[in-house]
């Protein structure tokens, strides 16, 4: 019965690394495993397979409040044919069909404002990371009721 949180993004692209900040803000808790990644690859489908809950935390270029969405079941929509990284829905779909993943999958979006080269988050991303961490606490550290 475990929870896996995967943070995705490149911290050399400022707010693209917002997800990593969210992980730092979360207290470690037994049964919750976290991992920071530059991008998602097929092998993550095997990693998440044993989890009951998996959350993908990622920066979002769309403005707005941070939010957590449940990933719908079913096949993910078609995608760019040249990409080398996978999207959360694709990792989950692979995990379901190849590695018997039966848990719940969520995406936590952390909107950013500045994706230029460099380090450090913008104020927007930083605030959103704090809020996102709170949302994740509500989701993960209270009994599943939603």
């Amino acid at each position: 019965m475990k929870t896996i949180i995967l943070a995705i993004g490149n911290s050399l692209r400022r707010d693209d690394g917002a997800a990593h900040r969210v992980l730092e803000l979360l207290e470690s808790q037994s049964g919750v495993f976290t991992r920071s990644l530059l991008q998602l690859a097929p092998e993550q489908s095997e990693e998440i397979a044993p989890a009951r809950i998996v959350v993908f935390v990622d920066a979002d270029i769309e403005p707005g409040p941070p939010r957590i969405e449940r990933l719908p079941r079913g096949d993910p929509p078609p995608r760019s044919p040249l990409a080398h990284s996978l999207r959360p829905a694709e990792v989950v779909a692979l995990a379901r069909s190849l590695f018997h993943f039966t848990g719940q999958a969520y995406v936590c979006r952390v909107p950013g404002a500045d994706f230029s080269e460099g380090e450090g988050l913008s104020g927007t991303a930083s605030r959103n990371a704090i809020r996102a961490a709170e949302l994740l606490r509500d989701l993960l550290y209270t009994p599943e009721s939603r």
Binding site: S11, L12, G118, E119, G120, L121, G123, A125, S126, A129
Partner: protein, 238 residues
């Protein structure tokens, strides 16, 4: 040696006359943040990170420069002090081009540690992106002005311990720049003995051993104590 009894963060502690608040706190496991202080050379009180509150005193005092007094009541980590420290570190990050991800001391940098321990997740100030050079003219060492925080540790260790006084500052204010001799390239310096002490005491990756890559360099923080102890007590112990 007369003893002074005082209170730091609610803890009763003792120090000897002449000892700094910083040092007494450190002896008692209270680690006040600092950047310009390094044990073994004189203090200058330049970074202002170790500012603490002393009850009954109107102004904050720099712990490294203030001797303990009998009955002092000191607080080292109030909200206000933490806010000040955070802003000071933010000022440093915005002042020059610190990109940890490509820095030789990434993971072993005092500035980075400070940011982490103070919970700095972003810089509210505008980055200045100054155009600064790297001096790799020295055979063994390099100086990257982009990462220099102007703490003057190198200047002091070179002057006081090695006795060469190769380093100093030129310019003033935000245009201050660490220079060797009279502004010659480090490799051309006649006074530099290539002892490397400056490199070891540098809190960031500004002074580095050449040939190191990202995250590869680790600085020897204990050598200075070794030298000073050897000098003062004639004991050669690590």
């Amino acid at each position: 040696m007369s003893v002074r009894t005082l209170e730091i963060d609610g803890k009763a502690v003792t120090g000897v006359a002449g000892q700094s608040i910083f040092s007494v706190a450190w002896d008692n496991g209270i680690h006040i943040p600092r950047l310009c202080h390094v044990g073994g050379v004189s203090d200058v009180g330049a970074c202002r990170l170790c500012m603490v509150e002393v009850e009954g005193q109107r102004k904050l005092v720099a712990a490294c420069m203030t001797p303990v007094e009998e009955g002092m009541v000191i607080r080292t980590n109030t909200e206000q002090l933490l806010a000040h420290r955070r802003l000071i570190v933010e000022l440093l990050f915005a002042e020059r081009n610190h990109i940890c991800a490509v820095c030789v001391v990434n993971g072993a940098c005092e500035l980075q540690d400070l940011a982490a321990s103070l919970g700095i997740d972003h810089v509210r100030l505008r980055y200045r992106f100054p155009t600064l050079s790297v001096d790799t003219s020295h055979e063994r060492f390099g100086l990257d002005h982009n990462r220099c925080v102007l703490c003057s540790r190198c200047i002091r260790v070179c002057d006081e311990v090695e006795g060469a006084h190769t380093w100093d500052f030129s310019g003033r204010g935000v245009n201050s720049l660490l220079i060797s001799d009279l502004g010659e390239a480090w490799g051309e310096s006649e006074s530099c003995t290539s002892c490397g002490k400056c490199v070891q005491v540098c809190p960031t990756g500004a002074l580095f051993a050449k040939g190191k890559m990202v995250s590869e360099m680790r600085k020897d923080r204990r050598f200075l104590k070794y030298i000073v102890t050897a000098r003062e007590k004639h004991e050669w112990v690590r």
